[in-house]
C-alpha cells in the first residue's frame, strides 16, 4: 500500500489510480503493492486468478477497479 506522506506524493499516487481507472475501469486487476505496475487483469475474478496461477505470481494485490473515478468516499 502507499502511505502518502505529503501532498506531492499524494498527488502522484492519485495519478496512479486515475490511470488505473482510465485503463481498467470495472476490471479485476492484480497490481504491485505500490500500484505502479499491473501484473494481470481480467473482466472477471475467476479469469484473473487463472492467469495469476499460470504465471505463478506470488506478490501483489488483487483489487476491483471502480467503473468511474471518485473524488471522495463517505461510507
Amino acid at each position: 500500500m502507499i502511505p502518502s506522506k505529503n501532498k506531492k506524493m499524494a498527488s502522484k499516487t492519485k495519478k496512479l489510480f486515475t490511470n488505473l481507472v482510465n485503463k481498467y475501469a470495472g476490471k479485476w486487476v492484480s497490481v504491485t503493492e505500490d500500484y505502479s505496475n499491473v501484473i494481470a487483469h481480467s473482466n472477471d475474478l475467476d479469469s484473473l486468478i487463472s492467469k495469476l496461477k499460470k504465471e505463478e505470481t506470488k506478490k501483489g494485490l488483487i483489487i476491483k477497479v471502480p467503473t468511474q473515478e471518485y473524488s471522495a468516499y463517505v461510507g
Binding site: M1, F17, W28
Partner: protein, 144 residues
Amino acid sequence: MSDSEDKKFFTKETVRYSQLFFSDELPILIVNIPGLPLPTPALVDSGATMSMLHIGIAKTLNLKVDYTNKRTGTGAGGGFDYAPCEPIEIGILGQKYVVSFNVVLDPDFPWGCILGNSSIFKFAKIVFRTYKKEFDIFLRKDIN
C-alpha cells in the same frame, strides 16, 4: 485498561493510512482471503455496522450466499442491496479470524472488502490517529 485486559491482545501494530481510489488516505488493512492467490485491501470502517464482501469474490470462492434473505442497506453513499453469506476465515496481520460478511449485490461496488463493527472491531482494539494518518491495532488473542 487493566493488566488482565492487556493480556488479551497481541502487541500493537501501527498501520499508516493509505490511498486507494479516493482522494483521501483511509485506514486500510491488507487481508488474505482463502481462495484468492493474493491479498486484497480492506477498508477499516468504524461507521459500518456490518462487514461487506464484493459479490465477485463471493462467487469466485463459491461461498453460500442466502439470496432469499436479500435486504437493503444504506449509507451516505446511497442505498445498496446485500445478502448474508457463510462465515469465512480471513488473515489479518498474520492472525486468522472468522468473519460473517454480507455480500453487496452490486458488481460495481468499489470495495473488495469492508471490515466494520461486526468483524474487526470485535476482534481488535483500534485507535485511529487521523491527524497522523495512522492507526494502532491490537488484535485479540482470545478470539479467532
